[in-house]
């Protein structure tokens, strides 16, 4: 399809978004990620029935924690699409890139870089 999308995100594959845990999202931020988005199947289309619903709940929980510690819950999002929707995947990545650029770097990443430079 040769779709254009930002090159600044890393794809981590899961067997199903139901495999996602809150700690996976938090660890990404702990390591300095500016944002995390989870892409699951369309709601109601999960092969395991509730995998993507569970993921959405976990994304919401992670967002709440990120808000509480001042990192910002808006840095984590959940999207749904079907596996045939390549253009939509590219669209979501562009949208997420835009959201994160508007928010600026994560305070964790900034603090980690500062610490590394000082060392």
């Amino acid at each position: 399809m040769r779709l254009k999308c930002p090159a600044n995100f890393r794809i981590i594959r899961l067997p199903c978004t139901g495999k996602l845990d809150i700690i996976h999202i938090l660890r990404a931020f702990e390591k300095g990620a500016d944002g995390v988005y989870v892409v699951g199947c369309m709601e109601g289309d999960c092969h395991f029935n509730t995998g993507n619903f569970r993921a959405r709940k976990r994304v919401e929980q992670a967002a709440k924690i990120l808000d509480q510690i001042g990192v910002g819950g808006e840095r984590v999002k959940m999207y749904n699409l079907s596996s045939g929707e390549g253009p939509l995947f590219a669209e979501y990545s562009i949208e997420m890139d835009k959201i994160i650029r508007e928010l600026g770097p994560s305070p964790i990443g900034t603090a980690l870089k500062k610490k590394a430079n000082a060392a």
């Binding site: 809150i22 702990e30 924690i65 001042g70």
Partner: protein, 222 residues
């Protein structure tokens, strides 16, 4: 099981401020089942606190450990060789575990990471409700297996009271009247005659009114 709920992160942050080395100690029993203080919750809390300290530019080393139980000597002993490395322990066990650890490690500050709520059951996914108040003298045989001590707001033993309307309690329209449940169940068991039997005055000395309780079983002591 014992039901607990997580304390707000803001409260935990204010409790642990000033400590430089912290051990977050989870428990594999009740608090794991009610998703308040098991291994997963320890991981998530540790990660959140680490990020908080990085963001604030403060130094605090946070380690994670989850014990099989915190209400037993043998499992609490597992941290004896490392406990001196920490300024404080943040325990995600119930109030029993926190206190037992505090008794064992006398000079280490023990901080609670959860609020212990009640003895309850998992009614549905993400919902836990009280079923027992550990009154020390069980009346369930006479009340169709439904506890008026824990489930009736007034702990009425010959109910229902006048506040029962359409099977609901007057304190909350969503709360079942325990005595309505008892009568319904007696009916279902075809034992409604038992409802006519008056409960005598309950001995509350085995409840909290008699002070902290203790069970001593010489037959199993070694």
């Amino acid at each position: 099981m014992i039901i607990a709920e997580k304390k707000p992160i803001e409260e935990i942050i204010s409790t642990i401020s000033g400590y430089k080395r912290l051990l977050i100690l989870g428990c594999n029993e009740c608090v794991t089942v009610c998703e308040a203080g098991g291994k997963k919750e320890v991981e998530v809390l540790a990660s959140a606190l680490r990020m908080h300290f990085i963001k604030e530019g403060k130094e605090c080393e946070i380690d994670e450990r989850t014990l099989e139980r915190q209400c037993d000597h043998e499992y609490l002993e597992e941290i004896r060789d490392v406990v001196d490395q920490y300024d404080a322990i943040l325990s995600l066990a119930c109030g029993v575990g926190v206190q037992f650890a505090a008794e064992k490690y006398h000079s280490t500050p023990l901080l609670p990471g959860v609020n212990t709520v009640c003895l309850g059951a998992n009614e549905q996914r993400g919902m836990w409700a009280e079923r027992c108040q550990a009154c020390g003298s069980c009346v369930l045989a006479a009340t169709a297996g439904i506890c008026p001590v824990s489930r009736c707001a007034k702990r009425v033993l010959n109910g229902p009271c006048g506040g029962s309307t359409n099977g609901k309690c007057e304190i909350n329209k969503d709360l079942d009247c325990a005595w309505q449940l008892i009568i319904d169940r007696l009916k279902a068991m075809d034992k409604l005659d038992d409802y006519e039997k008056l409960a005598t005055i309950k001995d509350w000395s085995s409840d909290r009114a008699g002070g902290p309780r203790k069970v001593v079983r010489e037959d199993v002591q070694v």
